[in-house]
Symmetry: C2
Subunit: 230 residues, 2 copies
């Protein structure tokens, strides 16, 4: 059985804030104690704010300039919507520059190295709790072909990214057709179900997955040379 | 808090089997009793088998012919890999024709009308349990740009498909940037975390989502005219 709890009550984050401490306090307030194997999921927004990865965006022109700066490549452009590749290799709208749930006149950028951010947060949580944990950092991305957005993993530490079932067989000895479940993205989406967009709950705890491992966000980026849709 | 339980022990399904009865028995064996608001998630494979949506595929040529028959459109083709649009509008590999976890020499197709299949299963479960439920039918799809596969919703009854937060604002009164979370796909991926591919657990129970509603699988299909990546 897997359990997913929201961790509400994390205040507006400023550069330099102790995110691990604030998450531990929220866990405590939720009546939870971190256990070995737990995965803590946080939206990138609070991580970026704690790291000072915000920028002034007073006008729409500022915002558009930030998108051009953050984009390593422009994949598609139609009107105000820009589909970009970020320096991390992620394909997403507006280079993940976000003006919602951030102080007026500012925008939040992605962490420079989200895996490193996740590692730091994990170390802080593990030192304080004394147990082995995983940490996932998420963002909300649109997709090709399907309506709506889902949360995906953009950084991780101590968590499996993609399960490798290649070579596994079904009960008839036939190789499985879908052999690389992107469990980090499924975990990110699962956590979103308790976080909510309007509610501003930026963190969740997932228990019982058995998915501690050593994945990296780059594992989830498809090699552009193998991608049919770029 | 959201809880997700696997429902193991469902036997190999044949055409005409009572899927609702088998899921209820599995729920019972798992020590669970269906509660109002629960969402039962099943892989399309058992639904298709119960509905007789299987076909003979003795050879690779049979398999390729089935894919061409099931595909409403071919979107991309490279070597043996074919990205297709199904009659339902889903963009996926091989028109979702699947030869794993099915008796040797056969392939499983998608249900003709997965929402209707979900509706029938929901009615069966609700009649037997006396509580209001949601039912999701899932399949495992690859994605553009990101490695690995995730489970997505291909049919549903009594569940929200895409939450509509358009017009919602953040604490600064600014409109949210990601306003249509595809919760049915996030639920499908969450359920996959307990089902496992090699383990052949074709069903799961999700509790505590607050996401009963009246979505349809078609809500998750992006209008091709609005899609940048076709």
């Amino acid at each position: 059985m897997i359990g997913i709890w929201p961790l509400p009550g994390i205040p507006e984050i400023a550069a330099g804030d102790d995110l691990a401490g604030l998450i531990l306090a929220a866990t405590d307030r939720a009546g939870l104690t971190l256990e070995p194997g737990d995965i803590v999921v946080v939206t990138h927004k609070v991580v970026s704010k704690a790291e000072g990865r915000t920028a002034v965006a007073l006008t729409d022109a500022d915002y558009r300039r930030l998108i051009e700066e953050e984009a390593a490549d422009i994949i598609r452009r139609r009107g105000d919507l820009v589909i970009t590749r970020t320096a991390h290799g992620f394909i997403c709208a507006n280079a993940a520059v976000d003006r919602s749930n951030t102080p007026a006149g500012t925008a939040v950028l992605l962490p420079v190295d989200p895996d490193r951010s996740a590692h730091r947060l994990r170390r802080g949580l593990e030192r304080a709790s004394g147990v082995s944990l995983g940490v996932l950092i998420t963002d909300t991305f649109g997709r090709a072909w399907r309506r709506g957005q889902t949360d995906v993993a953009i950084g991780m530490s101590g968590v499996v990214s993609v399960l490798d079932l290649r070579g596994s067989t079904d009960h008839e000895g036939r190789e499985l057709s879908a052999t690389e479940p992107a469990v980090a993205d499924e975990l990110a989406g699962a956590a979103d179900l308790v976080m909510g967009k309007a509610d501003r709950i930026p963190a969740a705890l997932i228990r019982g997955t058995g998915l501690l491992g050593d994945g990296r966000a780059a594992d989830l980026v498809r090699d552009p040379a193998e991608d049919f849709f770029l």
